[in-house]
Amino acid sequence: MKVKLEKSKAFYDVYERKPTGDKTVVHYCPGCGHGNIHKMITEAIVDLGVQDRTIFVSPVGCSVFAYYYFDLGNIQAAHGRAPAVGTGVKRVHPDSIVISYQGDGDLAAIGTAEIVHAANRGEKMTVIFVNNAIYGMTGGQMAPTTLEGQRTTTSPYGRSPANEGYPVRVAELINALQAPVYIERTALTDAKSINKTRQAIRKALQYQVENKGFSLVEVLSACPTGWGIHPVQARQWIKENMEPVFPLGCLRDRGAEIPASPLEPRPFVAEGLHELLDHPAPGAEEERAAGAPRPADPFLGSPRVKVAGFGGQGVLLLGLGLASVGMKLGRHVSWLPSYGPEMRGGTANCSVRISDEFIGAPIVNQSDILVAFNRPSLEKFEPDLRPGGMLFYDSSLIDVSPQRSDIVTVAVPATKLADELGNTKAANMVMFGAIVERTGLFAVADVVRNLGSFIKLKKLIPLNEQAVERGGAYIRSLA
């Protein structure tokens, strides 16, 4: 491959964004690898014809100012987060070319989670990982890739595996994942290795242009300043000290197995949103139950309801049913569940309010109606019923009698009646029918007509319809 001497078009002619110093030269130290790698990236981008769609994510590290130089879309990321930032960009613009450019502190220490997971998701981006075995920008502290025994400002006695562990081999680590398409480790030491690096960077970008997947090129690169040695010796140092720990070569290249596909922009869907979001069709206005009979007791007309039982007894669904039917009949409603682990295997309860006015507190502390499906719930919530309130309980499951005499008690063998219908789980809907029949809150027919508003599985509706009607019939049979 021919080495080009003229400045790449993907660099600015003059680095106007650079605030100080000579605006025609980069800020890197003499002998630093970053400059070479930048150049290789720009050359590949120009050759691949993707300058207008390339977005360069610069990291925190010496290359934080990459945007001074690259005539590309530039976004600067927090320390270690370049793969996450790149993910955000690429997901929004799948037709862009995203380069996550990272040092070893950035990628292999603080950003370990981000790189591993971006690689694991196979984000269609190119990661250029500059491994210089040190923190350059902050003044030569130890990196995760610092060699055993290597002295840095934070490993002044030499990196000790006992204290700091061993150098992290990033290419090998990423190679343990399934998704990546291309992983190679190269070095910047002599003409041959430089050429290899150039080819690797080009291939990684080419694969992204062909929409193939995630690539990572790890480049062993000199930091003469951080290492405290002359640039020429620095190259030798890579060969002698880094290469034995970080062997060069291609760890994976699945490019040929994956067919190329075009880079397509993501269309913005603006039509038919309400349908896509499962919103009720316009015009499906709820029927107002104008003039529908209301319970004589005003409290029962706008009740505060507590429904409680074991998780799995359909307690929350019954509450939701009360609220949904209320809504359909044009009333103000709210439903508030107990939530979280307490529901797992334990008790569940919900507060429901139905009112003609805006509902303040959705939490029901004092209830007008209590519906209890097990004994602990009955015992816990019975004291909170207001005097004159109404208690419904599943008498097929609760063997004790309610304690209070200043309330109206309605025993409903809901589980037994549901069993007779062939499904224990319908006990909650048997109870629903009983509640509305006894209180007059809604008509049984109102509930039946609106079952679809809270029971999503249509095939369950016939059974639930029977259950609601059975509950209503049971109450009538008592009269």
């Binding site: 976004i75 930032v85 913005f268 949103l273 896509l276 809504m327």
Partner: protein
């Protein structure tokens, strides 16, 4: 539009999608997980992105990338996750990226519990991240507002190029109420400054770094000027029965709902009590509170919160000693009851010689 019954956590995604949000990045946490679940369900349907990130840190940085690329993007979490998102939020404030972050507060500190609390007021309103920045903070108190505020939040975020928080509590997130969506929605604005595909976008830089102290000072002053404009234009609040109020309750989120019920009961007893509910916690309705404090009829302002009193200082700063500011709160996941709140007010009116 017909009404539909949803959880607050669901409604916020419906509102966001109607507002043109097509990118959600998040990590599960109770009591906010239904937000991610709803996004996971609907984002693919509307051609958007849903991604469960490896952490809240990653999620917020994905939002940074998507927002920098011009999309309306969002994330959501609860306190422990919001703590991790502070990094990205500060970066977005610095780079002036619009985004929406939803916080469904639960009990803290530490792992705390998953019941509703308002102990993250300082974290969100006074900004837990680093640097001179502000979040715009909306505090919905109903499922309808969860949807409405999602739309408002994206508009404010774009208008001011700033992170906007929707801060509420586990109760508002978990409860279901009827919600009505607007029939017509408008497309989100094009963003000239964003990175993306095309020659023009190539000129753009998204960054918060500036090594030059004078330039960074200017940038900070520019932000300060923006925050002053926001304070001027975007204060929102709701008043309830304040006309002749002697005791002014100040409450937001679920507490404002409970307080309303308490006020109804107290009014039936003849007590003159009302409420100011901040809808924006930042900017805070300080000027309005000061006006109220200057009314001769007003004797006292009572902050009611599910915290140990995190909003009290803002109310005190607003009224500047014109009237006493007192506090009643529950925390740890307890919601004060209407009975408790009413009792607090009765005690005060009795102490002041009755309010009848």
């Amino acid at each position: 539009m017909a009404k539909t019954i949803l959880k607050g956590n669901e409604a916020v995604i419906h509102g966001a999608i109607l507002a043109g949000c097509r990118a959600y990045f998040g990590y599960p946490i109770t009591p906010a997980s239904e937000i991610a679940e709803t996004a996971a369900r609907y984002m693919p349907r509307v051609g958007g992105t849903f991604l469960q990130a490896e952490s809240e840190v990653a999620a917020v940085n994905m939002v940074y990338g998507a927002a920098g690329a011009g999309a309306r993007a969002m994330t959501a979490s609860s306190g422990p996750g919001i703590s991790l998102k502070m990094e990205g939020i500060s970066y977005m404030a610095g780079a002036e990226l619009p985004c929406v972050v939803v916080s469904i507060a639960r009990g803290g500190p530490g792992l705390g519990n998953i019941a509703p609390e308002q102990g993250d007021y300082h974290q969100v309103v006074w900004c837990g991240g680093h640097g001179n920045y502000h979040n715009i903070v909306l505090a919905p108190n109903s499922v309808q507002e969860m949807s409405d505020h999602a739309m408002l939040a994206f508009d404010l975020a774009d208008r001011y190029r700033n992170p906007v928080f929707i801060l509420t509590d586990g109760a508002i997130g978990q409860m279901m109420e009827p919600v009505e969506f607007p029939a017509e929605v408008h497309a989100p604005p094009a963003k000239e400054w964003a990175i993306g595909v095309g020659e023009r976008a190539r000129r753009n830089v998204v960054s918060s770094i500036n090594l030059d102290p004078d330039e960074l000072e200017q940038q900070n002053l520019k932000l300060a000027e923006k925050y002053a404009r926001i304070t001027e234009a975007e204060v929102r609040f709701e008043e309830y029965r304040l006309d002749d109020a002697e005791v002014v309750l100040v409450a937001y989120g679920i507490v404002s709902r409970v307080a309303r019920t308490a006020i109804e009961a107290l009014r039936r007893e003849g007590l003159r009590v009302g409420m100011l509910r901040p809808i924006t916690l930042w900017p805070f309705p300080a000027a309005r509170l000061r006006e109220l404090a200057e009314r001769p009829a007003v004797r006292e302002l009572l902050c009611v919160e599910m915290s140990t009193g995190q909003m009290v200082r803002d109310v005190e700063l607003a009224v500047l000693g014109r009237k006493p500011v007192s506090f009643f709160g529950r925390c740890g996941g307890n919601i004060p009851s209407d009975v408790e709140i009413a009792e607090q007010v009765r005690r005060r009116t009795a102490r002041q010689g009755g309010g009848r």
